[in-house]
Amino acid sequence: MEKVIETVNLTKAYKKVLAVNNLNLRVHEKDVFGFLGPNGAGKTTTIKMMMGITKPTRGGVKILGYDVFKDGVKAKMQIGFVPDQFDFYPELNAVEHLNYYASLFRIPKEERSKRIDELLGMVGLSERKNSKVKTYSHGMRQRLVIAQALINKPKLLVLDEPTVGLDPKGSYETRQLIKKLGKEIPIFISSHLLYEVQEVCNRVGIINNGKLLRVDSIDNLTKLGGEINVQIECINMDEELINAVRGIDGVVDLSADGNILKAKVKNSELIPEIVTVITKEGGRIKSVSEVTLSLEDVFLRLTGEKNEG
């Protein structure tokens, strides 16, 4: 698979702070890649280096095969970018903005108006297209910034917190749009909204303190550590029963909450054994379910903000 983003030993230092530390990242053409990290982890700095806005202290970035700092213009010709912080020119309207950005992509005039109408329709700004941007709400600006990112029919989309500040409906619509676009082009999304990443991305990179901790598919990440969480709803649970289950070799952790027994086991083959022990001890099982880790659990575990177990 072809690499659309490749960073090699990408490092950015600000005086004594190492914002990004030897980042080696590869995003492929079929990826909708989520870039996760707590505030100050180095996500935005990484994206700014990818877009050639900030220069790295060391290392390099290749986008669609072009070195961003040598062939930045060629690379940017094929990228759509939504920054986390941005503003428009207050005196211009949506059409004037898109027309200006389209002109910078050297899109012929005759193609521009059709493309602009399509995009404004897509993001739901057609009715306000001739209003000055200074009269737009935050949500409308966020939709316009997505429209400008698509003006050049990009081969790669880089989105830095694309749903920040949107209301639930706007946020949902944006996610649907990202999902739809993700079927056509690779997308790199930086976000701190884990459910958003879990919903739209197929691969995730987790960064903390400037260091890339892990890159994997969401499926693999949620099976992190190889342990399986089992949740058993059981009647007639007592201390003896709990101790009997705890005594099974391969049960790593066990906790009881009312009628619910939560166990962490080394492999799924242990589940029938647990069921047998519970039945033997007089417990009546109502349901058994295998619970996978949420991305949030994985994220918190990797970034060290939640203790194991």
Partner: protein, 286 residues
């Protein structure tokens, strides 16, 4: 190269359009227009109707020279007002991130922004000067010769060059500072104090050490090279060479010849513009 020129032109077009949409250019342009046209009309009345009047014989360029002298503060005001926030303003508002994500180099952005600011001021100045000149001719009834019109165009050229110098300086500061206020203050302080003071040091030193200054002015106008060089670092000093072109009206002290003034402004512009380009190219815009 062709793509770069297209990029510069597209950015310049948008800047030009924005300048005419915002009130800044409109307000200063109207004030300039009112002062310039009023002074031109009054000057036209003064020289008109009396063929024996010495000013009448010198023609409309004499009045134009006086009007340009009265309005000599405007080139710098307009240039600084329209250029000081061209880079730093986008940086503060964060609109620069959208611009930098487009396939244009920083050089194109800098050149385009400069061209946009300069062309909008130039349009205002050319319009105001043309209307003023027509007023002088219309009110006085004195027709200029073809040579006079050419000289007026030459004077306009010098003023435009002066505008380019101040605009380049304001843009240079715009790449250096992180807030619009600090950029505006530094640009104004440089224009009103630092550059004028430095530019006079050579002349003052010459006057003090050689007793060349009398109560009637300088004994001779052959200033030493160091005085000329320092004097030429102020584009406003160089701009006053329009007086040489228009017949010596409105100039109290002639330190530089027209050619020297022109050279001074061109060098000032090139150095400051290239410095601005260099710094903008190297700055980390985070």
């Amino acid at each position: 190269m062709r793509d770069e020129l297209t990029g510069i032109c597209n950015i310049a077009k948008k800047e030009f359009y924005m300048n005419f949409k915002t009130k800044r250019l409109l307000v200063i342009g109207i004030i300039l227009g009112v002062v310039f046209i009023s002074a031109s009309t009054y000057g036209g009345i003064l020289i008109g109707g009396n063929p024996d009047e010495p000013l009448y014989k010198q023609g409309p360029n004499t009045v134009l020279g006086m009007v340009l002298s009265i309005t000599s503060i405007f080139p710098a005001i307009l240039a600084i007002a329209l250029s000081y926030d061209s880079i730093v303003g986008e940086r503060v508002k964060k609109s620069i991130y959208l611009l930098l994500s487009k396939p244009v180099s920083r050089n194109e952005i800098f050149c385009g922004k400069f061209l946009g600011a300069f062309s909008s001021i130039a349009v205002v100045y050319v319009a105001v000067l043309s209307i003023g000149y027509i007023c002088i001719i219309g009110v006085s009834g004195v027709l200029p010769s073809a040579g006079d019109v050419l000289k007026a165009c030459g004077a306009l050229g010098l003023i435009l060059l002066c505008i380019a110098c101040w605009a380049a300086l304001a843009m240079f500061f715009s790449t250096l500072f992180k807030t619009t206020t600090s950029c505006l203050i530094v640009s104004i302080v440089m224009w009103l104090f630092i550059i004028p003071i430095i530019s006079q040091i050579g002349v003052v030193y010459y006057a003090v050490t050689t007793n060349a200054l009398t109560s009637y002015g300088f004994k001779n106008t052959d200033f030493p090279w160091y005085a000329k060089m320092l004097y030429a670092i102020n584009p406003d000093n160089c701009m006053s060479a329009y007086s040489n072109i228009l017949g010596g009206v409105g100039q109290t002290m002639r330190v530089l010849s027209t050619k020297e003034s022109l050279t001074g402004m061109v060098l000032f512009f090139i150095v400051v513009f290239i410095l601005g380009l260099y710094i903008f190219g190297k700055t980390d815009l985070d």
